[in-house]
């Protein structure tokens, strides 16, 4: 690179026409920045959803009555548990607790002695909290819950109302950290049953894993055959549904960007169609010295490559900083809508390089398409005209 005359001349020409290029770089960086930032957000969200789903159990079996989900008797759970091919089946106690009309949290009952089908719970349960959960009336709460408690002047405890009008005071043991745990309360299973109003021989639903993926179809058929009021949901279905939503949303934004991209191509075309006499004279001198049209055209195209690289690098760095350090103010609101904001407190720095590459491909192709005609017109400047 350092020994290349071509490279040297590209730099020289770049700085000779700096003013013209600067405008281009500003515009293209802005456009690319918005695009890359949006992609970072959507890729990051998809990644977080995916990894959260991966930490979930493979299947959840729910009982349906009157078109809604209802608690199921423990006998269902025992039958499922004893099916061959199933592991870590769990009679879950899980449900929403309404602190008031506008705020609820998800109570998850947990028994540290049982195997956990949700890997994320295994991670949370250290020895100390496991011991406390076994012996005391304690809970682990997410950040959102803690904020609610503080706002209502509860220090380290909360008094739950059961459905039977009883008041149960539960101590806060620990804060939960991590994505998706914002509005979650973990507490001993029996305590959860009492607060949520479940009978001792009832589960909210049954979660379980099927390690051999090839058996998924089989097991689904089998269990749905046991009871007619049971419905099975697997991880992949959830993943598909989530991906659908965000791809759709991303596609919508992309379409918007593409229209501005079209405007950008037109801008580039006019920008480079105007060839100053200064530039024309320079190229004529190149031609005078034995540079062929082809060689001049390539030199000019490589100048464009330099501009593309500069814009892309700038946009990439800016977008990375904007999304993962500043947490994408404004753009986040537009992209997610205020409803979903609560869930995504910060973005996990995950980058999908294939999307980045595809943007690069599209962008550089657009750049070349817009500039090739003007550049060629410049490259055929006649040397005899400057004599």
């Amino acid at each position: 690179m350092r020994d290349s005359i071509f490279f040297q001349l590209i730099l020289i020409n770049f700085f000779s026409n700096f003013k013209k290029h600067l405008v281009t770089i500003l515009f293209s960086t802005l456009l690319l920045f918005l695009l890359t930032a949006t992609l970072f957000i959507s890729d990051s969200i998809q990644f977080m959803l995916k990894s959260e789903l991966n930490a979930q159990s493979d299947f959840v079996a729910k009982r349906v009555l009157g078109g809604d989900f209802v608690p199921m008797p423990k006998s269902y759970f025992e039958k499922i548990q004893n099916t061959i091919g199933i592991s870590e089946a769990n009679c879950r106690v899980i449900g929403r607790y309404f602190f008031d009309k506008s705020y609820w949290a998800l109570i998850i009952g947990i028994d540290p002695l049982e195997p956990q089908s949700q890997k994320i719970l295994e991670k949370i349960l250290d020895k100390k909290s496991a011991k406390a959960l076994l012996t005391q009336k304690v809970m682990l709460i997410g950040k959102g819950v803690q904020e609610y408690l503080q706002k209502h002047y509860f220090q380290n405890f909360y008094s739950f109302f059961t459905l039977k009008g009883k008041i149960i005071k539960v101590k806060v043991l620990k804060m939960l950290q991590g994505f998706g745990l914002n509005n979650i309360i973990l507490m001993p299973k029996n305590l959860a049953r009492e607060i949520l109003g479940l009978l001792p021989n009832q589960c909210s639903d049954v979660a379980f894993n099927v390690p051999n993926k090839k058996e998924w179809n089989n097991i689904t058929n089998k269990i749905e055959g046991y009871y007619f009021d049971i419905m099975l949901f697997n991880k992949d279905e959830l993943l598909k549904a989530y991906s659908d939503v965000f791809n759709f949303k991303g596609g919508f934004f992309l379409s918007l960007y593409l229209s501005s991209f079209l405007a950008f191509i037109l801008f580039l075309y006019t920008q480079y169609s105007f060839i100053s006499s200064f530039e024309k004279r320079q190229i004529a001198i190149y031609r005078l010295l034995g540079w062929s049209i082809k060689r001049v055209l390539w030199l000019k195209l490589l100048e464009i490559v330099l501009i593309i690289f500069i814009s892309f690098t700038l946009a990439f760095v800016l977008a990375y900083f904007f999304v993962f350090s500043l947490n994408a103010p404004i753009l986040k609101l537009i992209f997610l809508g205020s409803d979903n904001l609560k869930i995504f407190s910060s973005f996990y720095p995950y980058i999908d390089f294939s999307t980045l590459f595809s943007i690069f491909l599209l962008f550089s192709l657009g750049f070349f398409t817009a500039t090739i005609l003007p550049l060629w017109r410049a490259a055929i400047s006649e040397a005899k005209e400057v004599l």
Binding site: L254, K294, L301, L362, I372
Partner: protein, 322 residues
């Protein structure tokens, strides 16, 4: 509105295709002018303008070639990723077979690259000479290439517009699997014969390249490509997946297999394309290009080595064949 058309990757792909069409259209107009008005013996300003436009034409087609290669790779990547949205699809195989436009589209795209490579080869030969010997041929040839691109766009639109997210498709095991008593291999070959043919044809093509027997290359290379396709899909693939029942040309593009599909199919097509172009040069233009031959040899060799080593490694690791 078809949901697939709002997929980010599909939008980007179709935009790239549109831009390529735009580039090709400009090139087409110049090619048309050259075919109609090119007269090397004329000293008119018209001819001088045409000679200058010729360089724009060349650059446009070169760009088309460069971006078409990436575009085709990207296309395979997109259909591979789309399997998430098509019920029943496990990899690109189900997606590309989801309607009758997919397979012709992919084949056309590969053929398009071959045509462009051939064009670029003629271009190099043309620029070497001082009399523009092939400029008119080049321009006429491009008109055919342009028609091929129109066909690609036609299939593109039809393929993606008819890709349904609610219609279940078959996955690769049904598409490529052996139905009872049915032999998917051509000429009623069994696996043993297929492999013998595979290595035999490779030796013939490779030997013909070394011995520079153009005529033989022209005959044997397409046959090798054909047999290689079946060998990879029905034999070598099973070693890549380490599953005797998994027969699919597409799954190897996935991350689980370290994207090896891009290398395997890439080296096969590169090798056969360059061998063919070398032979066409030798027969038609009486020009023997060392570089082309070398690239063809290296790619084909690489292809066979990669395929064979999957089998060898499996044998070393497990002590048995599948």
């Amino acid at each position: 509105m078809n949901k697939i058309l709002l997929n980010q990757k599909v939008i980007i792909y179709l935009s790239i295709e549109t831009l390529l069409l735009l580039l090709a259209t400009i090139a087409f107009f110049i090619a048309f002018k050259i075919v109609k008005n090119w007269d090397i013996n004329s000293f008119t300003p018209n001819q001088f303008t045409l000679e200058r436009e010729n360089y724009l034409f060349i650059t446009l087609v070169q760009m088309l070639l460069f971006f078409s290669i990436f575009d085709t790779i990207y296309f395979i990547y997109v259909i591979d990723k789309l399997h998430l949205f098509i019920p029943g699809a496990m990899c690109a195989a189900g997606v590309i077979n989801a309607n009758s436009f997919g397979v012709p589209l992919l084949l056309l795209k590969l053929f398009f690259i071959f045509l462009l490579l051939l064009w670029q080869n003629i271009n190099i030969l043309d620029l070497r000479e001082k009399t523009f010997p092939y400029t008119k041929i080049k321009a006429s040839f491009f008109i055919i290439i342009f028609l091929a691109l129109i066909a690609i766009i036609y299939f593109d639109i039809n393929y993606f517009f008819h890709l349904k997210t609610n219609l279940p498709v078959s996955c690769c095991s049904t598409l490529y699997g052996q139905l009872e008593g049915q032999n998917p291999l051509p000429f009623n070959l069994d696996t043993k014969l297929l492999l013998i043919l595979f290595y035999l044809l490779f030796i013939v093509v490779f030997g013909a390249l070394i011995g520079e027997v153009a005529f033989l290359i022209l005959l044997a290379t397409p046959l090798f490509l054909y047999i290689a396709y079946y060998s990879v899909t029905y034999f070598f693939g099973t070693y890549i997946y380490e599953l005797p029942t998994h027969k699919c040309p597409f799954c190897m593009f996935q991350k689980e297999y370290y994207y090896i599909g891009y290398l395997i199919w890439g080296s096969l097509f590169l090798g056969t394309f360059f061998a063919l172009i070398w032979a066409i040069d030798a027969l038609l233009f009486k020009i023997w290009q060392k570089k082309l031959k070398l690239i063809a040899q290296i790619s084909l060799f690489l292809f066979v080595i990669i395929c064979s080593s999957y089998v060898a490694f499996y044998y070393f690791k497990n002590g048995v064949f599948l």
